[in-house]
Structure formats: structure tokens, C-alpha cells
Symmetry: C2
Subunit: 359 residues, 2 copies
């Protein structure tokens, strides 16, 4: 088992990575202080994994709640359902909430834990590649507002994360592929060596080679936690994690959430960021080609959806949460592994790049 420590002072926590560790009772005993535990999961995951988790938690007083699956239910009403179960079962401040599921379950559960009695302990058991490499690191929790994604939430760090590679065996192929977009992102941001390793190992990952998956998850989490540790509250450097996301969110939004998976939209978004960086004379064309090649190899889209226009894209980008008093910050690249933040970019060239991409 690999243990990766996310270094955040008194809020530091370990990520455990291996196959079969969802059953490891000792890990839960180490990190759960009270007796009462609520497991929050969703209808897709509950049938397969809930019995195994309950078995590992035999020493605790467990309740569980299964949420309807999907982004459409990531809202305050669903959080309220969790509060109801906690209150009905007299859960006090000393309780622990476990999120067993993908990013949506983790985000909702994390926010419930952050806000129940002003904050209780929680443990993440992410069951998708995307949530293992992304939403389980960084402490971002939250739900959607009808007018925007992730607009309501809190920063709340878990007590630990248990990333079991065996979950990926039952993950739909399309979701595994979507998760690969975020893995590749960590290479693009600031880790050329990892990018080169990925160029060799994408087939192993898609074939569910457990050692390769564990390495990819570990390196992604290590890279993310290094960036988060330097900027826990997203004042600066953490924004590098949004590589491809300003374009990607616009795509997700334009297509209707769930039609393009997050990772798919981010893949096309990273290609747009690469092309724009190249058009500005910052990134070599060869690096754009390598970026497109590896994403293609993983089975991800490298062009935005045909249904979308450059005007729609720009309009949606301007509404992005990362706008500070009307200044949009983009993540651009000088090359693979050389990303940087830019809020003083060439608007005209952006329009030209997008016109070509959306033609």
C-alpha cells in the first residue's frame, strides 16, 4: 500500500492507494474517533460496495443513506437529506461521515460534513478514477446553484482518503477514459517526466493494470497536493489546476451537464488552451501535437463539440467563477509541463483561435 501525505499543517491527511483496501478495517479505526458513522453513497455504488464497507466498519454504529446518482441531484435539497438522517439518528459533533462514491457524492458529502454542527470529520472513499485523482485532494466541497456549478460550498479537508484501485474494475469504460483527462492534466501542468511516462503507459492504464493505475493515481495526487499545499484557499498558484477548465466548463455548460462528461470537456479544453498558447507563440506546435496525441490515445475528444459556436464559448467563459471583478484568468502553457497563469491575454487572438477551432 502506498501512503501519500497531503501536507496542510494541522489539517494534513494521508491518501492510501492500493487494490482491495476498502476492506481494511484498521484504516478506519485509525482515523475515526467517535462511534457514530454515516456512510453516504449513491444508487449506482450502493449495491456493489456498501456491504463490503459496512463489514469493515463492524466496530462502529453505522447508518447509511443512498442518494440518487448524478450531477442533477448535486444541490442543497440533497444536502438537506443528509442533515435529516444525521439529526434523526442523534449524530453529535464527534461523528464521522464517509463518502463512498464518485466526485458528486464526495462533493455533496464533504459539504454536509463541513456544515453539520459547523463541521464534523469525514473520510473519502472515491470509487472513480476522476474522484481518486481530483476531488479527493484539495478539500473543495460543495453543490450547484440553479444558476451555476459549485457555487455553494466550503473548504473542508478529509481525515483520510482511501483510494482502492479495485473499484476501477467495475467503472464504465467511458468514465475511466474521462478520468484519464485529469491524470494527463497533471503532466501538462508541471511534470514533463510524468507526461512522458503516460505517453508509454496509457494502454496499460486503460487495460486496468493495477500497478500502473496506482502509480498514475499517486503521482497525480502528489502533484495536486503539492500545488494545493502551496495555496490552500486558491489565492494564486492553485488556479493552475484549472488548466483546460475555463474552456471545459463552457463546453459542459453549453452541452447540458452530463452530456459531455467533465473529463471529456476538459480534454477538449486543454487542447484549446494548447492551441491558443501556440497561436500566441508561447508553446511549440510539436507540444500541441503531443498533447492531442496522448488525449486521442486515451480515447478522449480533442476538438470542441460541433454544436457550439465561438461566441457561445466566450459568453460562457466570461461567467466563469474564476473571474475576479471582471478579470478572466486563463491557464496557458510555454510547453508540456510549463503552465502559467495569465489574466492579461490577447482577446483578439483568442477570438481567432476559437473561430478556427469551432469552424
Amino acid at each position: 500500500m502506498t501512503t501519500l501525505n497531503v501536507d496542510l499543517g494541522e489539517r494534513s491527511y494521508p491518501i492510501y492507494i492500493d487494490g482491495g483496501i476498502v476492506n481494511n478495517a484498521e484504516l478506519y479505526q485509525r482515523h475515526i474517533k467517535g462511534k457514530k458513522v454515516l456512510i453516504v453513497t449513491d444508487d449506482n455504488v450502493a449495491d456493489i460496495y456498501l456491504p463490503r464497507l459496512l463489514a469493515a466498519l463492524s466496530g462502529f454504529e453505522c447508518q447509511h443513506v443512498s442518494l440518487p446518482a448524478g450531477e442533477a441531484h448535486k444541490n442543497l435539497a440533497t444536502v438537506n437529506k443528509i442533515y435529516d438522517v444525521l439529526m434523526q439518528n442523534n449524530f453529535d459533533r464527534n461523528c464521522t461521515i464517509i463518502a463512498l462514491g464518485g466526485g458528486v457524492v464526495g462533493d455533496i458529502t464533504g459539504f454536509a460534513a463541513a456544515s453539520y454542527q459547523r463541521g464534523v470529520s469525514f473520510v473519502q472513499v472515491p470509487t472513480t478514477l476522476l474522484s481518486q485523482v481530483d476531488s479527493s485532494v484539495g478539500g473543495k466541497t460543495g453543490v450547484n446553484h440553479p444558476m451555476g456549478k459549485n457555487m455553494i460550498g466550503a473548504f473542508h479537508q478529509p481525515a483520510c482518503v482511501i483510494a482502492d484501485m479495485d473499484f476501477l474494475d467495475s467503472l464504465p469504460k467511458r468514465e475511466l477514459t474521462a478520468g484519464m483527462a485529469e491524470v494527463i492534466k497533471y503532466g501538462l501542468i508541471d511534470d514533463l517526466e510524468f507526461f512522458e511516462w503516460l505517453e508509454q503507459h496509457v494502454p496499460d492504464l486503460l487495460n486496468l493494470n493495477k500497478a500502473a493505475l496506482a502509480k498514475a493515481v499517486e503521482r497525480s495526487c502528489a502533484n495536486k497536493s503539492r500545488i494545493v499545499a502551496a495555496d490552500e484557499r486558491e489565492a494564486g498558484k492553485r488556479a493552475l489546476l484549472n488548466l483546460g477548465h475555463t474552456f471545459g466548463h463552457a463546453i459542459e455548460n453549453a452541452m447540458g451537464y452530463g452530456n459531455w462528461l467533465h473529463g471529456e470537456a476538459i480534454s477538449a479544453g486543454m487542447c484549446l488552451a494548447a492551441k491558443y498558447s501556440c497561436d500566441l507563440g508561447l508553446m511549440p506546435a510539436a507540444d500541441v501535437a503531443r498533447t492531442e496525441n496522448i488525449l486521442s490515445l486515451a480515447g478522449l475528444p480533442i476538438t470542441p463539440p460541433k454544436e457550439m459556436t465561438e461566441d457561445k464559448c466566450l459568453e460562457l467563459m466570461s461567467r466563469d467563477k474564476k473571474m475576479r471583478d471582471k478579470t478572466l484568468t486563463l491557464v496557458l502553457m510555454h510547453g508540456i509541463g510549463q503552465s502559467f497563469l495569465c489574466n492579461d491575454f490577447d482577446q483578439k487572438q483568442l477570438l481567432k483561435t476559437l473561430k478556427l477551432a469551432f469552424a
Copy 2:
């Protein structure tokens, strides 16, 4: 103008105390970084004070929302109304939310600020004595769940607190009196000198002597902030602030929220804590008498409501949020200014004391 600094490391903030400072534009300019400001107030306060606050904020882009007044509206649905206004007006992370009102407005607004886009800046402008001495210090924000008070919330420190003594001129007498309970509490907890000053100055305070009020608010806030600074997340010492509250919450709850004001219930609750401490042989009878005398002088109740029984009281106490895995912690006293935490108390004697008090 008195400035009191609440020392919480990078989350430190000043409390400004004086008459007429709600109009002081410079204070807002000093603490508000972005351009967009949302003022949250309630229907009682809006007519009198909103125009004055808006005038002082002429350099900002202001929106305002007025909530229905009262504890009955302190819930997630009301927080959602605030999110709606923020989203409809494209408020980004750089915005500031100002709470103009009493404790309910402050708690709701603080939680909206804590959770909108995972936390934005907020400024407290408390308009009641209770909120000036209590809810504006300590960073506790939150709303009620149908099954319990303050069950949903966050710790979120304001950028500053502006405590204008002139607000108290228009405060209903009953609310001024209720606020006095929390002021007197700070003497009882650990400040005999302040208690003795209050014994001399209760009439001045009730007569709205501004210098006396400013001193009472300053000393209360200083005492509270000293305790909070030592224990921001309520792991230990901060629980001293709950003197009278475990009994008091049971009274509020039994009578239906709003029928007994919070301060009234806390007054009767502090008398119960004093009597129980005395019955245990910890607190001199003379100190119990002084406690009852000063609360009476302020016009506060010193006995619990006739409608309530000791069994109801015990049942409601056992449901208190401050229970940790079934251990109830009470704040008891060795004397005035000598409070301490006790979770290993004599249950039999408690029943006896309550039987007598509720006879």
C-alpha cells in the same frame, strides 16, 4: 472610537465601538476590497438604518435584500434567498456581504458568506445589544434545522465588526434587557471586577448612557475574544461561554422559540447553574444571591417558567448539541468570576436542584 482587536492569527479582525459609526464611510473602505457589496438586513431594521448604511457605501456597487424578521426564518430556505440575489447580480468571490441586524441576520448572513463560492468576505453591523456582545465575536454562523437550533453552519470570521451604540436607542426595552443577560454572563465567567462594575452601572446601561454601554460592549467583547482566541474551534475552554446555556436552551425549546427571548432563558439558566453549583458545595450562597440580584436589577427572570417540569428540562438538556458521545458538559461556578467545565457531575443532586427550582 474604541477599537478592539480579536486576535486569531491571519483571521484577526477589529471591532469598532462608538455612537454614530454606521455612517463612517472610511471604515467600510478600509475593510471592503472588491466593488460589489450585498447588504442583508431584516424588515424591522431596513426602514430605519438601510438608507444611512447605503449613504456610507456610496463608492461601492450595492445590492440589498431584506429578510423576514425572526428566528422562524433562520433556515436554509432563507440562506438560499441570499444565494439567489448573489447569483442574479453576478457576485464573484471578491464580493463582500454586510449583515445589518441582530443575531439572526448575522448568523444567516455569516453562513451565506461562509458558503457562497466557498467563502467570501463579510462585515457585521450588529444592531442589538445581544448581537454586539455575543454573535459578532467568535465566527459562529449558521441556521436551524427543523429538529434543532444552529445545527447547520460554519466558523467564518468577519473582516470587521461595526458596533454602533446609537442603534440601541431604537431597540425595544425587552431586547435591551435580554442583551444584559449576556453582558452579565461575562462577569460571571471569569471577570469579578467587571461584575462589580455592572452591579454599580446596570441602571446607567438601561438608561442608555452611551459611555457605559460602550464600556460594557467593549469589556464583553474583550472577554469573549480572549476566550475564543484560546480555542477558536470550541475544543475546550470556549465552552465556558455556554454558562447558563444548557439550561437556557432547554427553556427556550420547551417554551417554543421566541416566547422566552434567548437572554431571558439564559438568565434563568445562569441562576440554575449557580444554584446547582451551590448545592454541590462549590459556590457560596452569597454569590448565588448576588447573581440573582444583578439579573433582577436588569429586569431579567431568575426562575424557570412555571409551565416547565424538571423532567422536560433534563430530557431537553440531554439533546443539547454540546453532548459529545453522550457525555453532557455543564458550566459550573466556584464563585462569581470562577466558572469551570464539568462533565462528571452529580446527576442525583442535579435532579434534586431542578425539582426544587421547578416546584
